[in-house]
Amino acid sequence: MADLTASSLSNDRALRSGPAGPKPRRRLSRANIIVYGTLLVFSLYYLLPLYVMVVTSLKGMPEIRLGNVFAPPVEITFAPWVKAWAEACTGINCDGLSRGFWNSVQILLPSVTLSIAVASVNGYALARWRFKGSELFFTILIIGAFIPYQTMIYPIVIMLREIGLMGDLGGLVLVHTVFGMPILTLLFRNYFVSIPEELFKAARVDGAGFWGIYFQIFLPMALPIFVVAIILQVTGIWNDFLFGVIYTRPETYPMTVQLNNIVNSVQGVREYNVNMAATLLTGLVPLTIYFISGKLFVRGIAAGAVKG
């Protein structure tokens, strides 16, 4: 028999010597110095090019010719930004990047909306409405994500020509929608699979159909994954160069293609400040999206791990 008399209940708070309560932590430990030091070095490494670009875009050409790329501008000028937006020449057109910007917007909005709308329904159907051959269909779609774009360029040229959309913005929208389909469908399917099946069953018992369940149950629960999809598509389509240069005409070139034409123009002096300003202008849209939705993006990416 164990000795039961040793343990007894008492309310007096008599601590013995030695550690008690939370363990103290030093702010300047060796581990902290290594972690923060590494972080600092890497962030400098990544931020330096951006710094050079911003600084250069705010200098005049005489100052740039001095050759000191890291020096801050002596005299800040916004003329290069204005020129890049409204006056820079590509070929015979001299209305700057603004035309490309509006082209890109016209490509972006329908492409993003259309691809996400179709892919989310795709993913929903594949996750919850299994039909004969749905697994095969899904596999084919996933394989689509791994086929290099280059192999499909010429066939698409022919297809677009046959349906009369070659060189048209509509054609490019179609191409972006199709190419966004595999990865977006996968994204939505995996998210919808993580929504408990019983919810789907309950909705069916309650008499909701395919669209009723999609719009009233699944869609309101899928906000985080929609944010992820929007970010992926906006950045992907905005930054696209290959499809833009192939499937459009010079007057419908997206911003990236026009940027390339401005930066790589061989006539006259190389205006580094204008080039830098033009590049920053082009990158501004994806950058804004990141800044606005950073938190939501992380939440969406991690959404599979937490149940609502």
């Binding site: 008499g207 909701a208 309101p220």
Partner: protein, 359 residues
């Protein structure tokens, strides 16, 4: 007319047969519990009745109407799930009225029904809240309410209490029984918890490998299990078993080794001879004065004592097998003691070794 009729139901996933030629009649207003360990096909059967799974063969009738090909919403059923399955972005009121809105019911009628269900389940103060702001018990009540508002004939419950803690489970169990008495609907209830099955059911269907082993009232299943699986599954602590031989001389006896148990008070269903299992529930191993009148008496050594408050479980060994004995809650007994016991043969069960069916 039966409330639910199942005729020759088969269901297989690929080559794996989950349900095999299953027949079941459920009466009007009956509380039927489908009981079994996981993987026995009880939830699958419920999903078939609900129309959430397509059957491979056979028919399902609800209120005399063949609903084998009908959509879940057309079958006149309401279903309550283990995980509650409340729509998280809707309020409680929205959850309750979702099914009614899908039927395009007039707004006034919806409001009336929601109010009635909320009153029955006492969730009126919660109507404007979202499910995330409710406790487990409240959520389950809303889930029941969702079936209630639809005014269906048959309620289907898929382990509705399994996600709740022990105390709440007991409370809601009583509430469910009260609800059934009040509404008088047919209820089909899936569980793996034998206490829920025993307390709630009018009849229990014990399932194993997609086949119903026994369909009977709870006390019948407990007292006269039709086969060894049912006998071992129902009852906690479980029934004691001995394997031996039944012989019918002048008097029938069960013998194993040098132990011979007279079976003169046992009511045989089929008086056959040969290898058999002898089963006896722990409370039918009598002690003290009750032991004196038993058909078979012996003395056992106490090996382990588990006091549980309401009763005390004593572990011992008889004829080489572990032997459980249920005694009074306040019994003072220690390991190592000798205990005089008697076996109440009238309450014993005998099973054929080959077929495992009751003798």
């Amino acid at each position: 007319m039966h409330s639910v009729e199942i005729r020759g139901l088969d269901l297989s996933f690929g080559a794996f047969e989950v349900l095999k030629n299953l027949n079941l009649d459920i009466g009007q207003g009956e509380f039927l519990v489908l009981l079994g360990s996981s993987g026995c096909g009880k939830s699958t059967l419920l999903n078939c009745i609900a129309g959430l799974l397509e059957v491979s063969d056979g028919q399902i009738f609800i209120n005399g109407k063949n609903v084998t090909w009908a959509e879940p919403s057309e079958r006149g059923i309401g279903m309550v799930f283990q995980s509650y399955a409340l729509y998280p972005q809707m309020t409680v009121e929205g959850n309750l009225s979702f099914g009614l809105k899908n039927q395009r019911m007039p707004k006034a009628e919806i409001a009336k029904r929601v109010a009635r269900a909320a009153k029955i389940l006492q969730i009126e103060p919660l109507l404007k809240r979202k499910p995330g702001a409710l406790s487990g018990g409240q959520r389950q009540r809303v889930a029941i309410g969702r079936a209630l508002v639809r005014d269906v004939d048959v309620f289907l419950f898929d382990e509705p209490l399994s996600n709740l803690d022990a105390k709440l489970r007991t409370d809601l169990r009583v509430e469910l029984k009260r609800l059934h008495q009040q509404l008088g609907n047919t209820m089909i209830y899936v569980t793996h918890d034998q206490v829920e099955a025993m307390t709630l059911a009018d009849r229990i269907a014990i399932m194993k490998d997609g086949v119903i082993q026994q369909l009977d009232a709870p006390n019948k299943i407990y007292a006269k299990p039709q086969n060894k699986y049912v006998a071992g599954f129902i009852g906690s602590p479980a029934m004691n078993f001995l394997q031996g031989e039944v012989t019918h001389g002048d008097n029938p006896v069960f013998s194993v080794g040098d132990v011979t148990i007279p079976l003169s008070t046992y009511e045989f269903d089929t008086p056959t001879q040969g290898a058999a299992w002898f089963g006896l529930r722990p409370e039918h191993v009598r002690t003290g004065i009750d032991a004196e009148t038993c058909g078979y008496r012996t003395e056992l050594t106490v090996e382990l004592v588990e006091p549980m408050g309401s009763d005390t479980l004593v572990w011992s060994t008889f004829a080489g097998e572990p032997w459980r004995i249920r005694m009074e809650g306040q019994t003072q007994i220690e390991a190592g003691a000798r205990l005089k016991v008697g076996f109440d043969i009238a309450h014993a069960s005998l099973f054929d070794v080959a077929t495992e069916t009751r003798l």
